[in-house]
């Protein structure tokens, strides 16, 4: 249950760091739910692709 | 014009440099004080909770 509290707090912090809500997702999937796992991964992949790569400026002295 | 540079200025808090331009007679034509530092407190304090102000702004000057 710590994860259930950690992830929303982390997302709030990540939003402040310019990392969009759609890039982090929390789901609960059991080992026997193979189809569900696959569909979640596919959805997430599409979502992240739509968001695109991080805008330049990923550290280093001048981005 | 001949330029005399004093860099850094010393025995005070902060960074500064002085450029002195001398004319052909060796007299001072003009002198410029420049402050080659900025940290941006005016901007990064925005969005911080009010209780952070007494924790952040003393770090403007530790003297």
């Amino acid at each position: 249950m710590k994860t259930a509290r950690r992830i929303p707090l982390l997302k709030k912090m990540l939003a402040q760091l310019g990392i969009e809500e759609g890039r982090v997702r929390l789901d609960w999937v059991s080992a026997s739910e193979a189809d569900r796992f696959a569909s979640i991964v596919n959805e997430m992949t599409e979502q992240v692709k739509k968001l695109g790569p991080f805008r330049r400026n990923g550290g280093g002295k001048n981005g | 014009m001949k330029k005399v540079t004093i860099d850094p200025i010393t025995r005070l808090e902060g960074h500064g440099k002085i450029e002195i331009f001398l004319n052909d007679e060796g007299d001072v034509a003009n002198a410029y004080l420049q402050i080659p530092e900025l940290r941006g407190f005016e901007k990064f304090c925005e969005g911080r909770p009010v209780e952070e102000m007494p924790r952040i702004v003393p770090r403007i000057c530790g003297v």
């Binding site: 710590k2 259930a4 509290r5 950690r6 929303p8 707090l9 982390l10 709030k12 912090m13 402040q16 760091l17 990392i19 991080f54 805008r55 330049r56 400026n57 990923g58 550290g59 280093g60 002295k61 001048n62 981005g63 | 014009m1 330029k3 004093i6 860099d7 850094p8 200025i9 010393t10 025995r11 808090e13 960074h15 450029e19 331009f21 034509a29 003009n30 410029y32 420049q34 080659p36 530092e37 900025l38 941006g40 005016e42 901007k43 990064f44 304090c45 925005e46 969005g47 911080r48 909770p49 209780e51 952070e52 924790r55 952040i56 003393p58 770090r59 403007i60 000057c61 530790g62 003297v63």
Partner: protein, 324 residues
Amino acid sequence: MAKPKVALYWAAACGGCDVAVLDTNEKILDIANIADIVFWPIALDFKYHHVEAMEDKSIDLCLFNGAIRSSEQEKIAKLLRNKSKVMVAFGACACFGGIPALGNLTNRAEIFQRVYIEAPSNANADGTVPQTSTKVTEGELELPEFFDTVSTLAQVVDVEYFVPGCPPPVDIILKVVNAFATDQLPPVGSVIASDKTLCDECDRVKEQKKITKLYRPHEIIPDPKKCLLEQGVICCGPATRGGCGLRCIKANMPCRGCFGPPPKVADQGAALVSVIASIYQGNTEEEIARMVEEVVDPAGTFYRFALADSMLKRKRMPPTEGRL
């Protein structure tokens, strides 16, 4: 035998680390007796050209405080690195970015806009902002480039030792000076503080870390004997290196994290997210939402002193276009 040579310098700093060295009071005379201070802008008149004229590695110890956020600060860090045998990242700014690293939540464009254009006390109708090169009647003036991003000293040059703290406590400063004077410096790469967390070293009464509310300072007067986290006050102790003597705790204020992450913790902010999420009791959506709301500013609170040292280092945003 010639006395060893010591240099002190400040980059994006406040002067507090230099004052901390002066806070050694009469012991500063001992320091002056055992070493020649060859560069120290707050106290002595040596200029950059004096340092440039020194032979490489002729400075025995360089205490460098302040973060790196301009081309001049980077240049002098590299210059002093060349001229020094031992480079010490002195203070929270040089070690982790410090308070100036909160600038990594913004960038040059936004900072310049606020400082030089928007700020209410400005009288800058022309909208002048600093340029790296400015022509004046007599010639040309130069200013360093202001980077979008704040870096720690170790991200720019090799560093042998780290002395954390904002500022480092006097007893740690004296420990460093003594170790240097008696040739008993610890292994290279050491952080000269405790290897435990502040939480481990805190002597407040700890019972059960279970809370149902987080309090902001105006909402509570904490009991000075009990653990602050257990009273619902955000204290960075569990994810902060110890060795500071609990100076904030003793003032009944929570730890702000100025000694940086403890050993084995790669990212202080992420560790603090875990700390708060672990002790907060609540599993329903409402309880979790309440907790998230009660942490008003996670990035600023959990990365207060160590944003430049974190895994993400800075906020992802478009870089400022072009050179100045």
